[in-house]
């Protein structure tokens, strides 16, 4: 299987893509997913991370089949 990665808003523009997939290989954490899916870009300081629609920290574990998302601070409302 594999994991799906999504980028939103200004981060999508900075990374230059909206979506990516990675083959799953244990062990895997969120910050490694970032590094692998962005060709070693540095993660901006205020980046927010989610796994399967829940906020997580960059050191959270990623499991096979997960959807990982990266986005800047939110500005809704």
């Amino acid at each position: 299987m594999s994991i799906t990665i999504q980028f939103f808003a200004s981060l999508r523009e900075q990374v230059g893509k909206q979506q990516a997939t990675l083959p799953y290989e244990a062990p895997l954490d969120v910050s490694t997913v970032w590094t692998l899916s962005t060709d070693n870009m540095k993660m901006p300081d205020n980046t927010l991370c989610a796994v399967n629609m829940e906020y997580v920290k960059p050191d959270a574990t990623v499991s096979d089949g997960d959807e990982v998302a990266f986005f800047p601070p939110v500005t809704g409302g």
């Binding site: 939103f8 906020y55 998302a69 809704g76």
Partner: protein, 146 residues
């Protein structure tokens, strides 16, 4: 109640009445607090023609649904309602509605405000403003509608 995400203009006052008619029992609640956030036509002194509101559909829905469920429980509400736009929005149009129905006014006020504060702090939405001089992402320390 589930939160509602919309890509079209909506009338918040009609939605409140529709929701009341469908989900609330007249005479049971004594207090209704509501908030409507509307797009303003200026921000940092530059004229904004319109705005594009990006979101993360599945997570935004999930986040707002959970927020509503938890808010009803925390504030002992009869019910609450959250409606939020995405896509293209023009000045004067409503962006967000939060509403809380309760037996007592303190809970209704507190819950309505809590919904807005949590939504603004954590719901995955991102505003991009279109001005005469181009486009720009809004940062959360300089929002037109605060």
């Amino acid at each position: 109640m589930p939160a509602i995400l919309l890509d079209k203009i909506f009338n918040p006052w009609d939605e409140i009445q529709r929701h009341q008619a469908e989900h609330l029992q007249p005479g049971h609640y004594g207090a209704t607090a509501t908030f409507v956030g509307t797009m303003r036509d200026f921000n940092i002194s530059e004229s904004v023609s319109h705005m594009r509101l990006e979101h993360y559909p599945a997570m935004t829905q999930h986040y707002l649904d959970n927020l509503c469920t938890q808010c009803i429980d925390t504030y002992d509400l009869d019910d609450c309602l959250v409606i939020h736009r995405f896509g293209e929005i023009r000045p004067g149009e409503p962006i967000v509605l939060t509403a809380a129905w309760s037996g007592h006014r303190a809970q209704a006020f507190d819950a309505c405000r809590y919904l807005m504060e949590e939504l603004k702090a954590r719901a995955p939405f991102w505003k991009k403003e279109v001005t005469e001089t181009g486009e720009r992402w809004v940062h959360n320390d300089q929002q037109a509608e605060k």
